[in-house]
Symmetry: C2
Subunit: 167 residues, 2 copies
């Protein structure tokens, strides 16, 4: 499958994970949070996110980007800020000519734990089993970014198996 | 005040207006729609918007960008797509180091017509009175983009009058 950049855009920052996918798991090349000052104007926050994404793509040369698809389950203002950040993620991926895959939180939970309604703890435990982590992940957005990259790895691996079987 | 780039991001495209602001009005340097294929994936639509914005900024060298602030009054899916486009607008402005002002639809109506609840027709008639148009504007997003640029011109002109009076 190759190297996947997983992104979880949030309001306080953006979690990212660079995963070298192998089968259902793989190894984590890099992960972390792009922290964004909460009080900064939207344009400045999005600039920080866009700059960080361009650097991550240039440094790690992923072959695909996977990002969480947004739902409007909570606060509309929060949802709008996250959608703006998603717009920046999609733009940076498109400018780097990288394919983008989007997964809902339910799809991510299903892919990683086998249960679309799994809680955050279970997702984090499964992530730790599927990939080798040098230290435990503490930030929720980072764990989610890894889970999203893993989801894409599984989907792409399954799609390629089906394609081969049909040949 | 100088040259203002007004933007109205929509789902079928992005209206833009380049206004050379003078007093309450000014002259329209350019205006139009960046059309975006509706069936295209989000990343491609946002790439078209980002590329067009970069070109508009490079060609017309505005000193400020004014963009409509979003409200979640309608369809959540539509609102999300518009927020993603807004994210791209804010990013492009920030990368060009241009200040960004955001106005709600009510603020725009109030500034242009004196009535925050004015209908689209009234806004478009007032726009035609305030600036010299070579031909009538037919697209709603373009009329809105001009109205947003006019709103910023008025606000900035008022702020500068107040600042001078206080000196």
């Amino acid at each position: 499958m190759g190297r996947i950049l997983g992104i979880d855009p949030g309001t306080t920052g953006m979690g990212y994970a660079i995963l070298d996918a192998v089968g259902q798991g793989g190894s984590l090349v890099a992960s972390g949070m792009v922290e964004v000052p909460k009080e900064a104007p939207a344009a400045e926050r999005l600039l920080a996110i866009g700059t960080a994404l361009d650097l991550l793509i240039a440094e790690h040369a992923p072959v695909a980007v996977a990002v969480e698809r947004l739902f409007f389950n909570r606060n509309a203002r929060t949802a709008m800020a996250v959608a703006e950040a998603r717009g920046v993620v999609l733009l940076c991926a498109a400018r780097a000519r990288l394919p983008v895959a989007e997964y809902t939180p339910g799809e991510v939970k299903l892919a990683v734990t086998g249960n679309g309604g799994a809680d955050k703890r279970t997702v984090q435990r499964m992530v730790a089993l599927l990939i080798t982590l040098e230290r435990p992940i503490t930030a929720d957005n980072v764990a989610d970014a890894i889970a999203i990259a893993l989801t894409h790895a599984q989907r792409a691996s399954f799609a390629s198996t089906v394609a081969k079987a049909l040949e």
